[in-house]
Subunit: 661 residues, 2 copies
């Protein structure tokens, strides 16, 4: 009764085609699924490329799929405004609502702006693509770097904020914030490595549950405020402030505003995923975007309004604003309070999950353009960009550990990237409209992958996108200034560095392509002569097999032995007389007891005097032991030789393995 | 004014010799010294094999070179006796001197025993060689394992004891015992990697300084005791005991005796190094051994006598016995007290240093017999067995860190190995005398590398060695029992495990030699046909160079491409039509997006259907980037393929490197 065999019979479909030049090309399909390994237990059986999903979704599911990132920010945006205002005392909290109003105005501008982008780019108009098409390479790579940075922060901030909700419900877990957060990241990573079947339900249930619960909470809260029974938070946590105590001035207000704009993160999600929508997809996506912004704005305004009137006390290390608010609204730590915290936690984890879809996809896009390692474009056994997922998880975990899973500590780094990509995207769109304005009516121009079509409303649209661009640039500069010392400087340093890395990678790939290119390439040089050198450590079956092989390659074969010991060399010569079959043997004495270097010197000398069109092949008998640990019992001369010889042009290294079972 | 060039011109001496079979053998000597690297700055310029020293030493220098290990144990042996007796209260200290007397009697037996060994083995008679020649393989390997274990402990104990003297002089360093001890190990390691020129002075000065200072200390002490002015230790440290409080019984006394026998460690050193002595070397070495034992016994007895009468208090974590004794003798913390501590520290470090000579040498001996990795027999650029030195340092540092540089914690592990090797050596000698007793007068028999000569006194000598063997076996068993729970069990577990590892290694080498042997080997199979497979990832200059190379090997060439993407495969086919020169191309579609596995499957299938005497050569174009980090930008398919193919018999892997600068 052994375990059932995992080995599946190989089925090969072979198809032969005559090619134009008369040569034969054979196409074979390897139908055998890969062997099962420890990985399949963790992430599931491999999926074939043809299994990639091609389903589309409607508006209601689309809202659920794309809104979690944006909506989840209501869980911390209000709190982050209050944490700054707290520096000037509780009286400053009166400014929270006006600040929230200003942010909602900004949200409206950005939403309008993106609505236009969605119609202009029905195949997906993320900031990277829009910037690449309309502004050029450098702005595109800047947007790419900014977005990648921000996706990492989305994961760190959302998971940390989710853990903060859990700690509000169960304060005894306070000491374990970092391990819990890292546990969540690993969980999300595993789920994503398995590959998320984008079934609507998985997303719809938690998102709509969150929306429903939050609408109920703010609804009940506003009702109780209206009838005068709201009251204030009983037994609030000790007040903390995000920044050093300061007078109430413009700087503090702008700082609070900057912190609050984190509410806008995630608004761009729909513009990246338009292709997922059912036709007419631009229209469906646009309507979904507007709905999302409406819900987001409403919730954010209502939460801020209620928080200030219920005298919620902001605390980074204690109870969250959401928890205090739910306690006031529902009159204590009941089931509805717990439901609010639960829904908030889940939506925050979902938000982190969207970054796991976006980061690897954008990484693959940038890698396909040659600005990131090509490996990021390969999809793993489960059809996901596994390398991107692993990279994102690692970076997010490092950030969480470094900032002790504190939302307030992470916030200064956050949103700069998003707003930079907002600006670049809107500027790109504005520029696009100006170009369209120059087209004759009915004209159509294909430019860098996208189609420019005459549009009567180009001037109005240009103004909308231009306004969006100006607003987001102003906000971004405000970030950089007000949050510079708190951590924004890190992003300001990292972004250009990242762009520089992108360009270094790109230069490498470009140079490589040029060197390998067959344009203006005559023909590869003919190989007229083969000179074969067999490196031998002794005379035994392994070396004789290598010698046989060498002789099948060429008549010009030389065996070389590096000798550390005269007696041993003499023994080797005697054995060679018997078994060497007349092949010339060179014994290189090595007075400094080195093995590889004298051989390299010898090969170099041969190479210096070689004839034109002569190739030098080094045959290395490589002993392959039956068990891995037995490798420790042998000097790995073959490998050392290989690494050293790889860098010498015109020298080919051949391993003749000799397996000993 | 640049740095002077390190590059030395290559001088090659070449000599051609006609061999008997008519073939030509060329012997070349690579006279160019190896390039300087970062290592030469640390350990000095490389030395040629011919530079190995061949000088011999006299008795006085010989004593200095070989005695430090043995003499240094007087620094802790008394203390370790007292630490056990302390468990039964200070009254038990009266037993320390009788115990020391018993140990000195044991020392006398062992010395006589080894004196005979030295005369019987003028070429060096370490326990490993004596056991191998006279008892067989298993006892020899047991002795080898025991000695190697004990050399590691010699380093750990001696360095820890040396640091204890330093801490006695400067108690504020107490918290830094472990880093100081590890620093010393690294220092000794570096000195030994440079290679110790065995100049007498380096050893003579500290050894004779120690002997002189200690003789002065015990001399003054005994004089003051005789005139009644010795007094007792003022302000002693808090008494500690090595073991749990217990009544004074046989077990405690035997335990104290066991601890005290650490004084005998190092007595075997001279028997290992007889060849270093001037002729008549056996006589010189024997006399030196007797002198060493006399000094050792005298110092040990005197220190123990004075320590008990001056009411020295044993302490593992506080002031050492030597320090307290010197304070009493010299009446305080003066220059002579400091000189005593200094001399003791230096001799202890020297003792550790001798293990650095013995461990690698014994390791090389065992490796040459095929029971340890062969690499241990290679001497490094400075003519020392660098790998053995590194291994010893690493193990000693691990022990020091694990046991917090505490001598008392390490002592239970110590000396078991030494006494096991003592016993095996003496048993071997006793057996040897019995064999000699059977020889006719004047007869001479060569047996396993040593010569047995008729000797009239064989019966007396057999009794001396037999007595030595019995005594040391009894002591060893006493160790195992009394110190079992304190840590001796570790050694009792490690020793058989180590011997098992030795035999596993040996079996591997033996099997390998049998498989590679040319005895009863007809001739290597002729290679009649070459089938060449070129793995290509695209069509570019690199793959075309590899294709050219493949065609120079055989007419039967097939190019194989693993395709993840149909469009890309179509492009490749078109390019192949133009550049493939009619070579058959096989495209393997990989629906699971794997690169290596489908290629392996294809190769395996070809291999299954191959003809007799057909060799399959896989040509892999390997792209070699100009800088190491650029490797991160490429999938290392060539390496993965190589690792996977190494294990398949009859398949040869050829790298055609393509360097891009």
């Amino acid at each position: 009764m052994g375990a059932p065999s995992m080995r599946v019979r190989t089925v090969i479909i072979e198809e032969t085609a005559e090619t134009e030049s008369g040569g034969t090309t054979v196409v074979r399909r390897q139908v055998r699924p890969p062997r099962r390994s420890w990985r399949s237990y963790l992430i599931g059986r491999p999926l074939a490329t043809a299994d990639a999903p091609h389903q589309t979704i409607g508006k209601a599911v689309g809202l659920a799929v794309f809104a979690s990132d944006a909506l989840s920010s209501t869980a911390y945006a209000t709190q982050e405004i209050l944490l700054v205002l707290a520096a000037a005392g509780t009286l400053a909290f009166g400014y929270a609502f006006p600040i929230a109003l200003a942010i909602v105005v900004l949200l409206a501008v950005v939403t309008l702006s993106y609505e236009q982008t969605i119609h202009a780019y029905p195949n997906g108009g993320g900031a990277y693509i829009v910037a690449r098409d309309n502004l050029g390479e450098l702005p595109a790579q800047t947007a790419g770097a900014a977005l990648l940075t921000d996706y990492v922060l989305t994961v760190s901030v959302s998971v940390s904020a989710g853990v903060a909700q859990i700690v509000s419900a169960a304060p005894q877990l306070d000491a374990y914030r970092v391990p819990i957060a890292i546990g969540f990241v690993i969980l999300i990573m595993m789920v994503n490595l398995r590959g998320v079947k984008e079934s609507g339900a998985t997303f719809a249930v938690p998102t709509y549950f969150f929306v429903a619960v939050m609408l109920l909470t703010v609804g009940v809260g506003l009702y109780r405020y209206a009838v005068g029974s709201l009251g204030i938070v009983p037994d609030p946590p000790a007040m903390e402030s995000h920044v050093a105590a300061a007078g109430l001035g413009w700087f503090l207000l702008l700082h609070a505003f900057s912190n609050g704009t984190t509410a806008l993160t995630g608004v761009e999600a729909i513009s990246n995923g338009i292709t997922a929508f059912r036709e007419p997809r631009s229209r469906n996506a646009g309507i979904t975007l507007v709905w999302m912004s409406l819900i987001l704005g409403t919730l954010f305004l209502a939460i801020t309004f209620l928080a200030t009137h219920a005298q919620v006390v902001p605390s980074d290390s204690g109870e969250t604003v959401i928890s205090q608010l739910a306690r006031v609204v529902y009159g204590g730590r009941g089931a509805l309070w717990l439901a609010t915290l639960g829904a908030t936690t889940v939506i925050l984890i979902m938000a982190a999950n969207t970054a796991f879809a976006d980061f690897p996809r954008l990484g693959a896009l940038i890698a396909a353009d040659g600005f990131l390692p090509r490996q990021l474009t390969y999809r793993g056994s489960r059809l996901v960009y596994s390398r991107g997922i692993l990279m994102l998880s690692l970076l997010a975990m490092v950030l969480i550990a470094a900032f002790r899973a504190s939302v307030s500590a992470l916030i200064p780094l956050y949103a700069i990237g998003v707003f930079m990509s907002f600006s670049l995207s809107q500027f790109g769109m504005a520029r696009r409209w100006r170009k369209i304005g120059r087209l004759a009516p009915g004209a159509e121009v294909r430019e860098r992958g996208s189609v420019l079509r005459h549009d009567g409303g180009w001037r109005r649209k240009m103004i909308v996108n231009g306004l969006g661009a100006v607003c987001t640039v102003v906000v971004m500069l405000m970030f950089a200034v007000t949050k510079f010392r708190d951590g924004a400087w890190i992003v300001i340093v990292v972004l250009p560095a990242l762009v520089a890395v992108f360009y270094t990678i790109h230069r490498h790939y470009r140079q490589l392509a040029a060197r390998l290119s067959l344009d203006r390439y005559g023909a590869p040089p003919r190989i007229a002569r083969q000179r074969v050198i067999v490196a031998i450590s002794g005379v035994h079956r392994g070396t004789l097999a290598a010698l046989q092989y060498a002789r099948s390659l060429s008549h010009d074969v030389t065996a070389v032995h590096v000798s550390l010991d005269d007696d041993e060399a003499a023994r080797l010569r005697r054995k060679w007389d018997a078994w060497g079959d007349g092949v010339r043997l060179v014994i290189v004495e090595s007075p400094y007891r080195l093995l590889v270097e004298p051989l390299l010197d010898y090969i170099e000398e041969i190479a210096r005097h070689r004839q034109p069109n002569e190739t030098i092949t080094i045959v290395v008998p490589q002993f392959v032991p039956g068990r891995w640990w037995q490798n420790l019992l042998h000097t790995q001369t073959a490998w050392m030789l290989r690494v050293a010889l790889l860098f010498k042009p015109g020298i080919v290294i051949t391993d003749v393995p000799y397996q000993v079972e």
